[in-house]
Symmetry: C2
Subunit: 571 residues, 2 copies
C-alpha cells in the first residue's frame, strides 16, 4: 500500500491544489506523483529499483575503450536539480483530481528514451516538460481533458510507456507551433491497465491501451494465450503505444507488426469516441483501423482494442547458421523468406554485427533461425529451412539445433537476454558521452544490396565526419518479408569527452538527419517499426507524398478540429 | 485487326464528333465502340462469343424446376432496343479522341453485374447510362478528364472490368446527388493493361490497373511467377478493381485479400497524382496504401501498383472431409485455422450448400481442404490437418487425397469449374425471373454460431415473405482466419413469373436491405470481399462509425475537392 498525501502547492499564481501519491510512506524525499506505478528513473530506462550488473558495467567499459575512451560519468540527476517553470495555464477545478504538476511527473513525461532524451536529462535540461500530467481513470475523464484542451489551446501528448526513440512524446512547442498553444499536457494512460475480456474460442482479448507488456502477458497467462508481441521496449511500453506507433514484435516473419493483431480499436478523439467493429477481416471501404494504427496520438487517445492472440508455443527448434559472405547470407535468407515456411526467428547479423554482439565465430554473417508452434512439431519445417540455407553455403553445428524446451539456451537465448538489457547499458554509455544508437528501415530484395552499401557508406561517412569516430555501422535483419528485409543499423561513436553532453546531442541530431536522408535516398522507408514522431519527419516527408499527407491531415481535422493532439508529431 | 470508322454523330446539339471502332469489319450491325476488347454481352456476363453449354442449360432448368418453375425467357436485348437520352454535356474538343457516347459503350458501362443490373438490362432499362465513356491511354489523359469533370461538375465513375455486384460502377445521380452533377462519365481503364516490370528477386511486378485477370497472369507466365489472386470474377475483373474494392482471392487462409499483395499504389486524383513508396513493410504513420485500398473509385483512379507475386505451386494435396454436423465441422475448421498450417483451400460447405453444389454425399457438412507449395512437399501439413479434423469426427476417403499434379480433378476441381461458370448460368436464371444471389460477411468464431443461425433465420424469413419461396439459404466459408470465418450465403427464389423483371428487381432490393440488416445486426461486417458500392451502404453506415466516415470524407475532400469521384458510392 502506498500512502497518499497532499503535494505542497507551488507558489505560482493560478495554480490549483492537487493531491498526489508518495511512493513510499517512509521515504520523505520520494517525489510526489499521481502515478500508481513503481518509481521510474525519470532520466533513463527502467525502475529506480533496477540497477546494472557488474558484468554489464564491464561491457560498457569495454565498449568505451573500443571507441577510444569516453568521458567521465555525469552524476545521476535528481528531481531537485531541475528548475521547472510553473504551469502556463491553470487547470480547471473539475480536473484537479487527475492532473499533476509535480516535478517528478512532469520530468517523467518530458521525453521519450532516445539518445537525445536521455542525454538532456543527464544535462538537467527539461525545457519541454509538460505543464500538466493527466492520469485519467475513465474515458469520460479523457473526454473532459480533451474538451478542456481543445477549448484552451493546450497541446495534448498521449503517453503510454514513454519509450519513444523518435521524439514521439515530447511536447516541443517551438517552431511553427510556438504561438498556437498556451501550454502542454501529457496524458498518461497507466490506469487503463486491464485485460477486460478473453475470448478463448476466437483467441482474442479486449485489452485496455495503457497496460504494459509484462502486465498484459501476466493477465493472459491463465487463459493459456499470448499476444506474443515482444518489442525491445516490452517491459515499459504499452498496447496503445504499440498500436499508435505500428510497433514491430520480436518474431521475424508473417505476423510481425502489431497491425496484424488488431481486431478493432476504440479511440477518444476531441470530436467524439470511435469504436470500430470487432472483425476477423472485412472489405468494407478503406480499413478504419488502419487510420488509427500508426496515428501516433495525433488523432485521439486509443483506450482499448480487441487483439488477436495465439496459443503458447510448445514445439521449438532453433539454430545458428554461418555464411561465407553477406551476399550468400542474403540469398539464403531471401530463399527462406519466400519458402512459405514462416520462420519464427530469422535474424541475420552482418559481419560487423556479429563482432558487436559477440555472436558465432565473430566474423561470418550469422543467421539466428528458429521455428515455433503450439500445434505441431516443427522438424519438417526446420529440415527444409536447413536445405535452403545449405543451398547458399550456410553451415551450422548439428548440436546447436535445440531440442524442445531448451529455447532459453544457445545463441538465440543469449542474444535475447542481451537485447532486453541493451537500453539499461545505453544509459551508462550516454552518461559517459558515447552515442550508441540504431536506425532502421525496410527495402525490397532487388534493391537491398545497393541500399545496404549505400546506407553503410553514407551513414558511416556522416558519423565519422560529425564525431571523428571510425567505428563501423553494423546491420542485422529484424524482420524479413517475402519481398524484402527490414535492416536495422547500429552505430557507436564518442559524442563528447568533457562531460558536456550538449555537444553530443547536437552531433546526434546531425547523425539522425544524415541517417534519415540515407534510408530514404536509397529507397527504404523512413522507419520500419520505430515510428515517425518528430525525429523522423525529415525522412517521412520525403517518403510519403505531400498530397497523401494533406489527405491524412484532412482526416485529422475532422477528429481533432482544434489541432491539439500531439502537435509537431507526424503532421 | 479491327477497322476503325467514324461513328454516326448523334443528332443532339453540342455533340462533338467522335471516332470509334467497329468490332468486326464485315459486321455492319456491330455496335460502334472505342473499346479494343472483344465484344461483351453488354447485358450480362461474358463475351458475345461465349455461350452456355447444353448441360448448363439443363442445370438452369433443374434449378428453376426445384424452385417451382420460372417464367418464360425474356428475349436477348440488342443495343437498338434502348433509347438513350443524348449526353447532357458536350465534351471538350481536346478529349474527343478518347470519349465515346456510342450506345454500346454507354450500355456496357451502365451497370455492374448484380442481379438488379442484369435484370434491368433484360428489361431494357438504362436510365443511369453514363453520358460519356472515356478510354484514356495515359495518365495525362486521365488528368485531363478529371480536370474537365471537376470544372464542369461531371460525376466520374472509374471502371475496371465492370463486375461489381454492389452498384459500384453505376452513376446513379439521384437522391441527394441529383442536383450536384450535370452529367456522368465512366472512365474505362482497359488501355492500362500491361505488366510493366517484373522483379524476379523480390517476386513483385509493376502492373497497370486496367489489366484483366487472365491477361495479367499470361504476361507473368514467362517469369514463372503468379499473383495467385483468383476471385470468381477473375476473367472480367482488373487489378485496379481488385485494389479499389479489397477483393478476396480464391485462397482460403493467410494472404487472401488483395490488400496483402500491394507493395505500392499509384493513383490520379483530381488534386494530383499520388504514388506511394514501394516497400515490403513500413511503420511510417497510418499506412498510405490502406487509404487507397478499398476507396472504390471515390478518391481517384488507381493507375498502377507494385504487387507481391508468388512462385507457381508445384506441390499439392487436397481432399474432402465430411463431418457429422455443422457444429463439429465448425470446430474442426476453427482448429485448422488456428493451427498455423495455413491451408490453401479450407472451404466448408454447410448441409444446404452441399445439396446446392452437389458436393460429397449431398447431406453432410463438407470441407474442401488443400495445401499447395512451390517450395516443399506438403505431406506433413496435410497429415497434421487430417489429425485435427479427425479430432472433430471428420472423415475422408483416403483415395481422394490427390497426388501431385492431379489437382484439376476431384471435388476441388469440379467445384472450381462450377464456381467460374456460375455467373454465366445466373444470366439465364435472371432472364427467367429467378433471383439467384449471394451475400457475405466475416465474424469472429465466438459469435459464429449465433450469427449463422440468426442470419439464416432473418434472411430466410425475409426471402420467404418477399418472394413467397421457401428455398433454403445455404452457407459456405470462403476464407478462414485464426479468429473467425468469412461466411458466404447463397439463396435462390422466384422473383417473377410473368416476364416482368421489374417486380423481381424490387424484391431483390428488399432482400438486399434485409440481408444487409441481418449481417450487421448479428455482428458481422457489411462485406468481406464484395465491397460497399451503393447497395451495401445501409449496412456500412451501421458498421463504420459516423465520425470515422466523416474523417475519411475529410481525406476525400483533399483529394477530390469538387466531389466528382464516384458520388453515391461509399460516402
Amino acid at each position: 500500500m502506498r500512502a497518499r498525501q497532499a503535494l505542497s502547492t507551488p507558489d505560482a499564481e493560478n495554480r490549483p491544489k492537487v493531491t498526489g501519491t508518495l511512493l513510499e510512506e517512509t521515504t520523505t524525499t520520494a517525489p510526489a506523483t499521481l502515478s500508481n506505478k513503481p518509481e521510474r528513473r525519470f532520466w533513463g530506462w527502467g525502475y529506480l529499483r533496477d540497477s546494472i550488473a557488474d558484468d554489464e558495467k564491464r561491457k560498457v567499459d569495454a565498449l568505451l575503450a573500443w571507441l577510444g575512451g569516453g568521458g567521465a560519468a555525469v552524476s545521476e540527476p535528481r528531481v531537485g536539480d531541475f528548475k521547472l517553470a510553473p504551469p502556463r495555464i491553470a487547470a480547471p477545478a473539475s480536473l484537479t483530481s487527475i492532473l499533476s504538476s509535480s516535478a517528478y511527473d512532469r520530468l517523467t513525461h518530458c521525453y521519450g528514451k532516445s539518445f537525445a532524451d536521455v542525454a538532456r536529462m543527464w544535462m538537467r535540461e527539461a525545457f519541454n516538460a509538460p505543464d500538466w500530467v493527466a492520469f485519467p481513470r475513465s474515458e469520460s475523464e479523457i473526454v473532459d481533458v480533451l474538451d478542456w484542451a481543445s477549448r484552451s489551446r493546450v497541446a495534448v501528448v498521449p503517453f503510454g510507456g514513454g519509450t519513444s526513440v523518435v521524439g514521439g512524446v515530447e511536447a516541443a512547442l517551438d517552431g511553427e507551433t510556438r504561438n498556437q498553444y498556451v501550454a502542454s499536457l501529457s496524458l498518461d494512460m497507466e490506469r487503463f491497465d486491464r485485460v477486460l475480456e478473453v475470448d478463448r474460442i476466437s483467441r482474442a482479448a479486449r485489452i485496455q491501451a495503457g497496460v504494459l507488456g509484462p502486465d498484459l502477458e501476466s493477465q493472459l497467462r491463465e487463459s493459456g494465450l499470448t499476444l506474443r508481441h515482444f518489442p525491445q521496449s516490452f517491459q515499459f511500453s504499452t498496447l496503445g503505444g504499440w498500436i499508435a506507433t505500428r510497433a514491430g514484435g520480436h518474431y521475424a516473419t508473417l505476423y510481425t507488426h502489431i497491425d496484424d493483431f488488431v481486431e478493432n480499436t476504440r479511440m477518444v478523439t476531441p470530436a467524439g469516441v470511435i469504436e470500430t467493429r470487432r472483425l476477423p477481416a472485412s472489405g468494407a471501404g478503406p480499413a478504419p483501423d488502419r487510420l488509427v494504427i500508426g496515428s501516433e496520438g495525433t488523432l485521439g487517445v486509443i483506450t482499448e482494442a480487441w487483439m488477436r492472440l495465439q496459443d503458447r508455443p510448445r514445439f521449438r527448434a532453433s539454430t545458428s547458421v554461418r555464411f561465407k559472405n553477406m551476399q550468400a547470407a542474403v540469398q539464403g535468407v531471401r530463399a527462406l523468406s519466400q519458402s512459405g515456411l514462416h520462420a519464427t526467428n530469422c535474424r541475420l547479423l552482418d559481419p560487423a554485427e556479429v563482432v558487436f554482439s559477440g555472436v558465432g565465430d565473430r566474423k561470418s554473417p550469422t543467421l539466428v533461425l528458429g521455428f515455433e508452434s503450439a500445434d505441431h512439431g516443427v522438424q519438417a519445417w526446420m529440415a527444409r529451412a536447413l536445405e535452403l540455407v545449405a543451398d547458399h553455403g550456410g553451415q551450422w553445428d548439428a548440436e546447436t539445433v535445440d531440442r524442445e524446451g531448451e529455447h532459453r539456451k544457445g545463441a538465440a537465448g543469449a542474444w535475447r537476454d542481451a537485447f532486453i538489457r541493451m537500453p539499461y547499458l545505453r544509459d551508462e554509455t550516454t552518461r559517459r558521452g558515447a552515442i550508441l544508437d540504431t536506425f532502421e528501415s525496410a527495402i525490397t530484395w532487388d534493391r537491398f544490396e545497393a541500399f545496404y552499401e549505400g546506407v553503410l557508406e553514407d551513414a558511416g561517412e556522416a558519423i565519422a565526419r560529425i564525431t571523428g569516430s571510425q567505428a563501423p555501422v553494423s546491420c542485422r535483419f529484424t524482420h524479413v518479408y517475402p519481398d524484402g528485409p527490414a535492416p536495422y543499423f547500429t552505430y557507436a561513436a564518442i559524442g563528447s569527452r568533457d562531460g558536456d553532453l550538449r555537444s553530443a546531442v547536437a552531433k546526434w541530431r546531425e547523425i539522425k538527419a544524415a541517417s534519415n536522408a540515407a534510408v530514404v535516398k536509397h529507397g527504404g522507408t523512413s522507419t520500419h517499426h520505430h515510428a515517425i514522431g518528430r525525429d523522423h519527419r525529415s525522412a517521412y516527408e520525403i517518403e510519403v507524398p505531400a498530397l497523401m499527407r494533406a489527405a491524412l491531415a484532412g482526416a485529422k481535422k475532422v477528429m481533432d478540429p482544434a489541432g491539439v493532439m500531439n502537435p509537431g508529431c507526424l503532421f
